[in-house]
């Protein structure tokens, strides 16, 4: 089992820089997920680790050894492709055995490995089938099996579940998590689906436009997003971003006003005026709570069964989504008072970077007091 390190890695195609100064350390056995919107460079980064793309600048190390110029096959990695890339003219057995045959492994050893992997992935009864005779989920399993038989140090997954339907995706997600638990190998997984990222990862790398926005555990990213982009990308439904009606200093204190909300953000010199206040829909309450944000008029209600998503509008025309537990009897046009906990507020600068959250911003009524 090996770890991996990326040190000031760049990728350029001609004049176009698609990855910029990526630094990352992956510990042995860690499950790391690269997540980001389409075109953010996450797949390119994975392919650079695999050896399918050259590294324009910087260094890639696997198990402590520089890998920039090592051929893909000698990096100790195996990759599961988005399209599965199964050889269509070979049956399941041959697909899984191909790499081992290429390495001229003894036949008995090949057979043992293929059958062991097939048993793990419940493919035993499908070994003589061709890929076209398999369902999407089965093809996915063969692609994973092809990676397992090689016993690699590092598994790479390039959006492996994106071609599956929703139900199968959830099932395969659990299977991949179970596989990681059982094998314990280092795994790097690319997805644009933040739910996959949150559920699978030990560590998430959020990418945007070729740059790393934040690296951290799923809960770190959820609780303390480094910027507005990460805050919006991680968590579903998305975090509400609200513009304060004013931020000003009064009596040496930085005050934020937004609807009915009054927050004290610290003393002059110690605080910076935020351009946006973020609050997750699941952190808002209706009817009672610590601080009142304001009244929303309900525009739309989505009933999920276990929860209700209320889309409303504040008096200053800003949109707000509130997630309420259970099945709420709320009609369009209703007016609802919305409350929040100061500790759940995220503050962002004009450029999007997160500001340190005051531990306990004071509240109106108990009046700006510390």
């Amino acid at each position: 089992m090996s770890g991996l390190a990326l040190d000031h890695v760049f990728k350029r195609f001609g004049n176009l820089t698609v990855l910029r100064d990526v630094n990352l350390t992956v510990a042995p056995g860690e499950f790391v997920v690269f997540v980001g919107p389409s075109g953010c460079g996450k797949s390119t980064l994975l392919r650079m680790i695999a050896g399918l793309e050259t590294i324009s600048d910087g260094e890639l190390q696997i198990g402590g050894a520089r890998m920039n110029d090592v051929p893909a096959a000698q990096r100790g990695i195996a990759m599961v492709f988005q399209s599965y890339a199964l050889y269509p003219h070979m049956n399941v057995y041959r697909n899984m055995a191909f790499a081992l045959e290429t390495a001229r492994m003894p036949k008995a050893e090949i057979d043992a490995r293929v059958r062991r992997a097939a048993a793990v992935l419940q493919l035993d009864h499908l070994l003589t089938r061709k890929p076209k005779e398999l369902s999407g989920g089965q093809r996915q399993r063969v692609a994973i099996g092809r990676a397992i038989v090689r016993d690699p140090d590092i598994f790479l997954f390039d959006e492996p579940l994106s071609n599956l339907d929703a139900e199968l995706r959830v099932q395969m997600r659990l299977e991949i998590a179970e596989l990681h638990r059982r094998l314990g190998n280092t795994m790097i997984y690319v997805t644009h689906d933040q739910v996959e990222a949150m559920t699978l990862a030990d560590k998430i790398v959020v990418l945007r436009a070729g740059q790393v926005e934040q690296i951290g555990s799923p809960l770190e990213l959820y609780n303390t997003p480094a910027n507005q982009f990460v805050a919006g990308f991680i968590g579903s439904p998305k975090m509400n971003m609200l513009r304060p009606s004013s931020t000003h200093f009064e009596d040496g204190e930085l005050r934020l006003e937004l609807g009915d909300l009054r927050l004290l953000l610290g003393r002059r010199g110690g605080a910076e005026a935020p351009a946006a206040l973020g609050i997750r829909p699941e952190h808002l309450r209706v009817g009672s709570g610590t601080l009142k944000l304001g009244e929303i008029s309900v525009q739309q209600v989505e009933h999920l069964g276990s929860a209700s998503l209320v889309h409303g509008r504040l008096p200053d025309k800003q949109n707000l989504v509130v997630q309420l537990e259970g099945q709420q009897r709320i009609g369009i046009g209703d007016c609802l008072p919305v409350f929040l906990e100061p500790a759940n507020c995220h503050l962002f600068r004009e450029d999007g970077a997160a500001l340190p959250r005051p531990a306990q911003p004071a509240l109106e009524g108990t009046a700006y007091a510390h």
């Binding site: 050896g51 399918l52 893909a72 890339a85 269509p88 191909f98 092809r146």
Partner: protein
């Protein structure tokens, strides 16, 4: 009882076909007509006529006389020239088709690498296929491979004295094979399209699996191209069996030297239009149909063992 109850309702419900609908049908047949005339008048009709004629003696001047199986018996047991032409034709088919396909695939793979000016190269390589069957190119070929031709003049520059390639019975057929291979453009274009169909990620997966270029070619490219190879092989074999123009020009219609370029079709032509034995030539033609048919049938039967269809 049930039937008799049901019938009147059905009969009553059956509408008369509106006039417009009938005109629509007529228009369809009118559009088909040129093809129908061509097929029955120029293909099926003559084919059936030639089958009947193959059982007759017919010299174009007097009426055909029924000959039974005499023509076929003569072909099988007496006519040595038939066997000579068959030998030449099989040699040509067995040499030119594999060489042409290999050459076409090789060029297609080079072009598939993605190079600057690809469309120009593609057009240039395809050009011989357009010109190759023409009389002009066959004349040119004769000039290149004759005793004082271009090839020998080039060889003379390096001090070699070449024979007259087309006058030497040992080499004449090979000049025709080279001419055949030179017309690799059309299978090349089809191979190029086939290569484009192979997903790039299969090669990426194979390179991760440690497969060398050579192994990737034999284990991925070649198996996935088998439907294309199959198609090209059938078309090219039929074409090669029917080859006529180059041999006719190079040997001045004689199939010489010493029958070395006596293609089957050339012999057939000599019998029909040289000796005016139309019945005999028809029998020869039908034997060629049988040979091509047999070959094609065997190819299709064998396909299931070596041709991989993805869907």
């Amino acid at each position: 009882m049930l039937a008799s109850l049901a019938r009147p309702a059905l009969a009553g419900a059956r509408p008369r076909q509106p006039a417009r609908r009938r005109w629509h049908g007529l228009a369809g047949y009118l559009f088909l007509l040129p093809w129908l005339i061509g097929f029955f008048g120029l293909t099926l009709g003559p084919a059936v006529a030639s089958l009947i004629l193959s059982f007759t003696h017919f010299d174009l001047i007097t009426d055909p006389r029924w000959a039974g199986l005499a023509n076929y018996r003569r072909i099988a047991f007496i006519d040595t020239k038939f066997w000579a032409s068959l030998h030449v034709t099989f040699t040509y088919v067995l040499l030119s088709v594999p060489l042409k396909l290999a050459f076409a695939l090789g060029v297609a793979m080079v072009l598939n690498k993605g190079m600057r000016g690809l469309t120009v190269y593609r057009a240039i390589f395809y050009l011989p296929s357009l010109l190759g069957g023409s009389v002009a190119i066959a004349v040119l070929w004769r000039e290149i491979f004759s005793g004082s031709g271009l090839l020998n003049r080039l060889l003379a520059l390096v001090g070699l004295h070449g024979p007259s390639w087309i006058a030497d019975p040992d080499t004449a057929i090979y000049t025709l094979v080279v001419l055949g291979v030179w017309q690799f453009g059309s299978p090349m274009i089809i191979f190029l399209a086939g290569l484009r169909q192979i997903p790039q990620d299969l090669y990426e997966a194979a390179s991760l699996d440690g497969a060398s270029r050579r192994r990737q070619f034999f284990r991925i490219t070649l198996p996935l191209l088998t439907p294309i190879i199959f198609f090209n092989a059938i078309v090219q074999v039929i074409d090669a069996f029917k080859a006529f123009t180059p041999a006719f020009i190079i040997s001045d219609g004689g199939g010489g030297p010493i029958n070395a370029t006596l293609f089957y079709t050339l012999y057939l032509y000599q019998e029909a239009f040289g000796n005016f034995r139309m019945g005999y030539a028809s029998a020869l033609a039908w034997i060629l149909v049988l040979i091509i048919g047999t070959f094609t049938a065997i190819s299709f039967l064998s396909a299931r063992y070596w041709v991989h269809y993805d869907e």
